[in-house]
Amino acid sequence: MPDDLNWAIGGEAGDGINSTGKIFAQALSRAGRHVFTSKDFASRIRGGYTAYKVRSSTERVESVVDRLDILIALTQRTVEENMDELHEGSVIIYDGERTMMEDFEAPEGMIGLPVPLKRLAEDAGGALMQNIVALGAACEVANFPIENLDEALEKRFGDKGESIVANNRQAARLGEEHVVEELDHDEFDYDIETTDNDYVLLNGDEAIGMGAIAAGCRFYSGYPITPATDVMEYLKGRLERYGGHVMQAEDELAAINMALGAARAGARSMTATSGPGIDLMTETFGLVATSETPLVICDVMRSGPSTGMPTKQEQGDLDMLLYGGHGEIPRFVVAPTTISECFHKTIEAFNLAEKYQTPVYLVGDLALAVSEQTFEPEEFDMDSVEIDRGKLVDENEIDSWLNDSDQFQPHFPAADGISPRTLPGTSGGAHMTTGLEHDELGRRTEEQEVRIEQVDKRNQKVETAKNEEDWDYREFGDSDADTLVLSWGSNEGAMREAMGFLDEADIDVRFLSVPYMFPRPDLTEEIEAADEVIVVECNATGQFADVVEGDTLTRVKRINKYNGVRFKADELAERITEKLDAAQEVPT
């Protein structure tokens, strides 16, 4: 059997699915195995189908695949929901003594493994531990030494006291013993390796939060919304350690305005929300840009429009992020493509915001936000973090930025478009700023020449940034390949793995993963060099494909997915193959 292990636990929300999945993922990670996790969840607190999937390998894994080797099914529906991914030899662990599963028969070729989960859990000290019994059984099936669970159980239950931890360890061992005693091991032969590697395991929202702290963020205000709330939950308690503060606002309008206020007072500030929250923030977004306030606004996209499917994947907000708001608003739109890039691009977003005194949209998506992945800890190198606060003027330099009547010029139309900036409290720097069109002093004006001067000045900042910063892409595969695939956001992981499948089918692909939506790299040359160009994204209309076509004046092919589920590597390889086959069938 391959060393790759695809494991899942499924049941009803409230069954402890997430914490059990997380315990297994952490155990694998601590045993030196790479892990990638994904969650299927519904928008409800209790009941409804929910699942936590863990893919694990000794090689780095960056996506999910259509395959399940071991499934812990707490409900019959779990088996039904995952039928397409189960295969010959898949092991389904279930409680044969529970009514809802007692008549269960594993589909042909699969191995049903009844374990008295509830009864053994009660033997260990409480029925609640049934998942841990199942986990112990799964360890035995995978030939994964059960001691590896101990540390993760300590981490999860340590706060509740040593006896709870001990009971859980015991529950796991009862599950393990049951498999050893009752079942024939020859039926399945998983044997996964462990290594000495130390990995960290985190999701995209956590990486954004960690990046924010590394970048010197001190103020965060937000309103709870799936799937962005994890950013706030991560920061709460941690930001305070560094003298910062997390404020739960009364709504998204308050959240962005609080962040704007804190930013004007000089704090590096951020708010995070999802699409519906961006809608509400859009009016103030224009104010942030016009008042030239540095601010990072994070949009963790989910399925829309309106309330759409709040717990499902989609990349449908690009048009809004690029063009949203009345009038013309200079902005940056940065979209990390992997979980570790969520960390690095967040730091970059804070620097861009302060250097150019411009709002920055930091764009994640649900698949990035809730999936966890293992990394070498060095990938989050804190020593290499550099903070650039831009043209911050202190009391000593202020004289050069005063006008004839000794007033500070916060909107001085410098050639690069970037004005000096004083923070409140700076002597001699008092000034006002406004969303109204204003002169260099921040005073309202409707004079035509001043209007043009200030609009040009604000837009010039973006032009300056285009020249001064790297707006590059990440490149994978054969740079001479005839087929060029482009994607943005979380699709990178699936696409990189898909390239392995394509390679097996002798399909050569050049893949560019684009993390900058505005400004963005000019892809004209790359597109002209390719015979086939395919843009991959999780939306129905192909918003990024439209942008690429507009930029390069070239028609591209599109692979879109909008059923609420992220791309899987094998599925993506298949769809690319189909596109290329279809292209060849067209008579020339």
Binding site: F219, A249, A259, L260, G261, A265, P424, M432
Partner: protein, 287 residues
């Protein structure tokens, strides 16, 4: 802060475009005097305003200031004060800005009890959009959008503030310069959210709630011997809809402002050149 600051130091060189006789002149003068009297100077003061006639105040005052979007001035002030508690933060808005579009923020700002001052220029009408009913307009007040009157109860801002556990609730009249200044000054000195509703007549569009009306109607709480620390007495005054009171209606002198409760005493603008020294601990948590 310097002791030789005069209130005129808070004046900008822009001439207000408010209508001659507008109540907002007096409201603003009192605010500037209160700031100077309490030892503030323009460089440590941050004034936030929303939209409408009241929103113009940031332009006419000289300080650090932000003129924001309609109804959202309070959250901006809260952000400023969180990031730098050394700043004196004063937020100003109108009755539409504060009690209509911003009503949610008002209630939450009151209960948050951030140490700042909120001055509302209440003229019981929308002035800048030329005379529509506002949330404090009388039930039978005829306007272009309510030709038969709004036919709904006006908002009682003081009652909202008391219900949200406000720690300083006051009302003043812009043309009673001395009392108005005193009251705003007390709000600035209060440790917590100092809220002052100011009767600031609109001479162009409101011919009911005029200077003459307020002059005749106003009852000064000091003269009545009202004890502002008595919450029940405050509630009686606030619910008495037939009387226009001036003065501090309620003050909780023991109130603990948000900044203190949350230990916000540092200037968040001060950050290192790189990641915090022990930032690697953040990575370790994910092992």
């Amino acid at each position: 802060m310097s002791s030789d600051v005069r209130f005129t130091d808070f004046k900008s060189d822009k001439q207000p475009t408010w209508c001659p006789g507008c109540g907002d002149f007096g409201t603003m003068n009192g605010m500037m005097k209160a700031l100077a009297n309490t030892g503030n100077d323009p460089d440590n003061t941050f004034v936030v305003a929303g939209i409408g006639c009241s929103g113009k105040i940031g332009t006419y005052m000289h300080s650090y200031a932000l003129h924001g979007v309609h109804g959202r001035a309070l959250p901006v002030g809260i952000g400023v004060k969180s990031a730098n508690p050394d700043l004196e933060v004063m937020v100003s808005g109108g009755d539409g800005d504060g009690y209509s579009i911003g009503a949610g923020h008002f209630v939450h700002a009151v209960r948050r009890n951030m140490d700042m001052t909120y001055v509302v220029m209440d003229n019981r009408i929308y002035g800048l959009t030329k005379g529509q009913a506002s949330p404090t307009s009388r039930e039978d007040f005829e306007t272009a959008t309510t030709p038969d009157g709004p036919k709904q109860a006006p908002v009682n801002p003081l009652a909202l503030a008391l219900a949200a556990d406000g720690s300083f609730i006051a009302q003043s009249f812009s043309s009673d310069a001395q009392r108005h200044t005193e009251i705003v000054q007390q709000a600035v000195e209060h440790d917590g959210f100092g809220f002052v509703n100011v009767y600031s007549p609109c001479v162009t569009f409101n011919d009911v709630d005029t200077y003459d009306y307020f002059r005749d109607a106003i009852v000064d709480l000091d003269e009545e011997g009202h004890d502002p620390t008595d919450r029940d007495a405050a509630q009686k005054k606030i619910m008495d809809e037939d009387t226009e009171y001036q003065g501090v209606i309620y003050q909780d002198e023991e109130s603990e402002p948000y900044n203190e409760r949350h230990g916000l005493d540092e200037n968040m603008a001060d950050i290192p050149d790189g990641a915090p020294e022990d930032a690697t601990d953040l990575v370790r948590e994910f092992y």
